[in-house]
Amino acid sequence: MDALLTFLFKHPARAWERGELVWSPVLPAWSLAVAAVTVVGVAVWSYGRVQGLSGTRRVALAGLRAALLLLLLVCLARPTLVLARAVPQRNVLAIALDDSRSMALADGGAETRAAATTRIFADSTALVRALADRFALRFYRFAADVRPAAGADGLRMTGTRTDLAGALDGVRQELAGTPIAGIVVVTDGADNAGRELAPALLALRARRIPVYTVGAGLERFPRDVAIERLALPSRPLRGAGLLADVTLRLRGVAGEALTLVAEADGRVVGTQVVTLPPREETMRARIPLTPLDPGPHRITVRAGTLPRETIAENNVAHGVVQVRDGPDRILYVEGEPRPELSFLRRAVAADSALNVVTLLRSAEQKYLRLGVRDSLELAGGFPTRREELFAFRGLILGSIEASFFTADQLRMLAEFVSVRGGGLLALGGRAAFAEGGYRGTPVAEVLPLALDRAPREAEAPPVELDVRPTIAGAAQAALRLAADDSANAIRWDSLPPITVVNALGSLRPGATALLTGRRAGETIDQPVYATQRFGRGTSGVFAPQDSWLWKMDPTTPVEDVTHETLWRQIARALTEESPDRVEVTVVPSHLAPGEPVELRVRVADERYVEVNDAQVVATVTSPSGRETAVPLEWSLAEDGVYRGRFVAEEAGLYAVAAEARRGRDSTRGAPAPLLADEAGADVEQAEQRAPLLRRVATETGGRYYPLAEAGRLVEDVQYTDSGVAVRDALDLWDMPVVFLALAVLLAAEWGLRRGRGLA
C-alpha cells in the first residue's frame, strides 16, 4: 500500500510529512483566478444550452467539466514540495542499541530481541549498508549509561537498567558540534531508570534532531506472569515483620493458582499462594516476611512458572532492605494516668528496638518520667527547644489539652512532622482533638482528620464502635494480625468493640483511613485511625480511647497478643520513615556491576535545617570489605543535599555510609544498601513499550517502526532539517495521481454524455 501511495504521489509519506507545500505559478496568480472563473462559466454555459438534460445530470456534467479544467489550472499554478534533505556523507546518523537484560528475552520465538537487532543492524545487512551510503554511522550501546560501540555485534545484554533519557542525552552530548541527521534508537522501551524523559526530548527538539525509534519484542505477551514491581520497606527496624508488596502483571492466566516465594539472602522467609483474578491484568500480593537481622539483606521474590509462559525471566524480582538496629526513641506525652497509657507501654516494653519515653503529667506542674535516658532528660517537662524534641523519631500525643503547651511548643509539634520528618500519632481521649482545644492550632493543621466538628460535652457518654481495617489498612504491615489476608480479616472481625469520646472530623484530602469504626446496627463507617504525609513526615490519628479493651475484654483469650502486636507495629510504623540528620540514599539501589550509581546525602543540623557548608564523605564498603571514600559535593539545586558518583565494580551487597563534618561537629548517617549483580532487574516490564517509543518519535519529529519494518528507515531518515541539509523543490504537477484524476474526470463526463446520446 505504501509503495502504491508513493507511486501515485511521487514521494513517500515521510517526505510529505516533512516537506512544505508551496506554489510557483507559471502565470500571474490573477490571471489564473480569471481563468478559473472563466472555465467554470464556460462549463456551466456550455451544458446550459444542451436540450433534454435533467437538472441533476446537467449539474453533474457541468461539474465534471469544471473540475477537469480547474485541475489543469492547478497544474499551471505549479505546486511544489520543498523538502530538506541530508547531504550524503556529510551527516552523522547515530544508532543507539539497547544493551540491557531485557534484550536477551526470546519472546518472538527462538530468536532473542538482541539477536533480531543484530540480524537487522549488523554491518553487513542491507539496511546498514544503505544507511552507510548516505550517512556516517556511529553506533552506541546503552543500558544504565551510553557507550560507543563498534557495531551491533558487540551487545552483551547485561545492563540491569534501561535509561532512555540518559541514552538520548548521552548521544546528543557525545555528538555535540557534529551535524546529526538523527538518532535511531533500537530498544524494547523498558525504561526503568526513573528519569524524566521530557528534558531529554526538549533538548533534542531544540536542536531539531529527530529520533527514530525501533521497537523490539512483542507489545503484548499471550501468556505470562511478571513481577512488575517489588516494594519493600526502605529501612525497617530490627524485629519488624515485613511485607513484600508485589505487583503482578498477568496475561492469559486467569483463575490459576500461583505460588510466591520470598527469600532473604537465599533463605526462604515467606511464601504465599494466590489465585489469579479472572479479569484484572494486574494484582497486588503481600508476602509477610519473618523478621530479619540488622544490616543489609538481598530480598528475592519468585513467582512459580506456569506452563507455556511466554518468558520466565520476569518471574523473579530482587530488592534490598537495610534493617536498622534501633532502638528508635518515641516520646509519649500524656496528660492523665489512664489504662491506654499503661497498656500501650506494656505492649511495646518487650520490644527492645523501641524505647517509648513517657512524660506523664500526673498533676499540675508535676511529671512522671518513664524510660528517660538520664536524670536530666525532660526534667523541665515537655521540651522547649527544637533540638531536644527533634532528637526523638516519633511522638505520641495522648489525652492532653492544647493549653498545656505554649504557642511555640504547638508550632514545634507541627514542625516535628513537617520539618524534622518525624512521625506524630495523636490518640483519642477526653482532652484530645477538638475536646482538648486543638482547633485552630498548628497541630490541627497537621492531623489527617480535620477538627471541623463541635467538641462533645465533657460528660457525654462514649460511642461504642466495631473497628475494622479499610482496604488500605489491610495492606499495612502495621495492622497485620495474621499472615494470610482472609485470616487477617477474621482476626479483625473477632475483636471486641472499643469506644471513642471525641467528635471525629472528616478525612483530609490526601489522608488515608486505615481503620474505620461502625456503631452496632448502623452502616456508616467513620475513620478512627488515619495517616497522611505532611511535609517531610507522617501524622496520624488513633481516635479510640480504650484500645486496651482488645486485651482485657472477657472474650479475648489470656494468651492473645493482638493488642501488643498492634501497638508494636503501629509504633514501629511511626518511626520507620523518620530521617536521621545525615540521610544516605543510593540511586538506584540495584544495578549491574560496572554501572554508575548516584550517592545522595542530605545533611541537617540539630534543628533539622539543611546545611550547605558541611564536608561530606561517603564510605562505600564493598562485598569483600574494601572501603572507598567518595567525597560528595553540595548540589546547588537543593539545600542540604550532597551528591557523588560511584561505580560498583564488584558484584554483591555494598553498604554506603556517610559522615558530615561541620566545624567540630561530626555526624554519621545510617548506612544504605546497594546491590550489584547481573540478575533481576530490567525484565519487570518485558513487553515492548511501543506507546513510549511512539511518544519519543513524535515529540522529536522522528518516527516509530517495529523492528521488522526497520528497513523503512533508509528512505525516511534522509528527510531532515538537522545537520547539513539542502532544500529541494520537487514539482508535484506531474504526479501520477494528477493524470489519473484527469483521466477519471474525462471518462466520467464521457460516460454521462454517452448515456444521454450526446457522445
Binding site: 496528660g335 492523665e336 506494656r346 512522671l368 489525652s399 477526653r430 462514649p462 469520646v501 486496651w548
Partner: protein
C-alpha cells in the same frame, strides 16, 4: 473450800470473764460502728462504663463459716468495710490532687466473675481473710490479672493473711507474694513515700507490703498488692471526722494515689 464454794467461785469467774469479754467487745464494736459508720448499705446500680477511672470494690461470698455474704444482721459485711465513704472520699481526693480523670460520687461493686470487671483494670478488695471464692471467681480473677488487671487487698490482719495466700494460690498457682519496701517504684509513683510501713492501722501490728509480680520477677508487671496488717480505706473513710490524725490520713492517701498512678502508667 467446799465443792459448793468452788462451784460458786468458778461461776463468779465465768461471769467476770463474760463481763470482761463484753466490756472488751463493746469498744471493739464501737470502733467499727461507733465512728458514724452507717449500717450495711446494699450497693445500688453500677454506673455505665465511660472510660474514666472508677473505684471498683470486689464483692465476694464468705462461705458457710463466715456467713452468707450479705448483711450480718444489718451491720456491714467484710467485703464492704468502709463502703461507700472510703471510695467516695478517695475518688474525690484523687480528682483534686491528680490528673486522673474521675467520676464524682461514682463507684462500682462487682464480683470477680462479672464480665464488667474487665472494663476496670484496677480493683479493690477489703478483708480478704473472709474471702472464699468460687471456682468461677477464681477463674475470673486469674484471667483478669493475667490480662493486665491489678488488685489491691486491704483492711486485714493477723491470720487473714493465711487465707489470702491460700486463695491466691488457687488464682495464680505459679506466682507468690513477695515482700516489697519503700524502694519499690510504686512508693514513688506520685508521692515519695520512703517508709510506707510507718503507717500503722492496727495498734502495734507492724504493717508490711506484699506484691505478686509477673513471672515472680519484681522488675516485671505488678498484678496484686496486699497491705498486710493495714487498712488504708479506714483512713479514707473517716477523713475529716477527727478520728485519725491528719498526718496519718495523708499518708494513707499518698499510698492509695501512688497505687493508682502506678497501675495507670506502668
Amino acid at each position: 473450800m467446799t465443792a459448793v464454794a468452788r462451784a460458786r467461785r468458778a461461776a463468779t469467774c465465768l461471769r467476770l470473764a463474760l463481763l470482761l469479754a463484753a466490756l472488751v467487745a463493746v469498744p471493739a464494736e464501737a470502733q467499727r460502728g461507733g465512728r458514724g459508720r452507717p449500717r450495711f448499705e446494699e450497693p445500688g446500680e453500677n454506673p455505665p462504663y465511660d472510660g474514666r477511672w472508677t473505684f471498683v470494690r470486689i464483692r465476694y461470698e464468705m462461705g458457710l463459716a463466715a456467713g452468707a455474704g450479705g448483711s450480718r444482721g444489718g451491720f456491714d459485711v467484710p467485703w464492704s468495710h468502709d463502703y461507700p465513704r472510703g471510695e467516695r472520699n478517695f475518688a474525690q481526693i484523687v480528682g483534686e490532687l491528680t490528673t486522673v480523670r474521675t467520676r464524682p460520687m461514682q463507684h462500682a461493686v462487682l464480683r470477680l466473675d462479672d464480665p464488667q470487671l474487665f472494663r476496670y483494670p484496677i480493683a479493690y478488695m477489703a478483708e480478704p481473710g473472709y474471702w472464699s471464692p468460687s471456682e468461677s471467681e477464681v477463674l475470673g480473677l486469674s484471667t483478669y490479672l493475667r490480662k493486665g488487671g491489678f488488685i489491691i487487698f486491704d483492711d486485714f490482719r493477723d491470720q487473714a493473711w493465711l487465707n489470702l495466700e491460700r486463695q491466691m494460690r488457687r488464682v495464680l498457682p505459679e506466682l507468690r507474694f513477695i515482700r516489697i519496701d519503700g524502694t519499690h517504684p510504686i512508693f514513688d509513683a506520685f508521692y515519695r513515700v520512703p517508709d510506707p510501713e510507718a503507717l500503722q492501722s492496727y495498734g502495734r501490728a507492724q504493717p508490711t507490703f506484699w506484691a505478686i509480680f509477673e513471672d515472680n520477677d519484681p522488675r516485671k508487671r505488678l498484678l496484686a498488692l496486699a497491705n498486710r496488717d493495714n487498712d488504708l480505706s479506714e483512713f479514707w473513710e473517716f477523713t475529716g471526722q477527727g478520728f485519725f490524725p491528719v498526718d496519718l490520713t495523708n499518708e494513707a492517701y499518698k499510698l492509695g494515689i501512688n497505687y493508682l498512678v502506678y497501675a495507670l502508667s506502668r
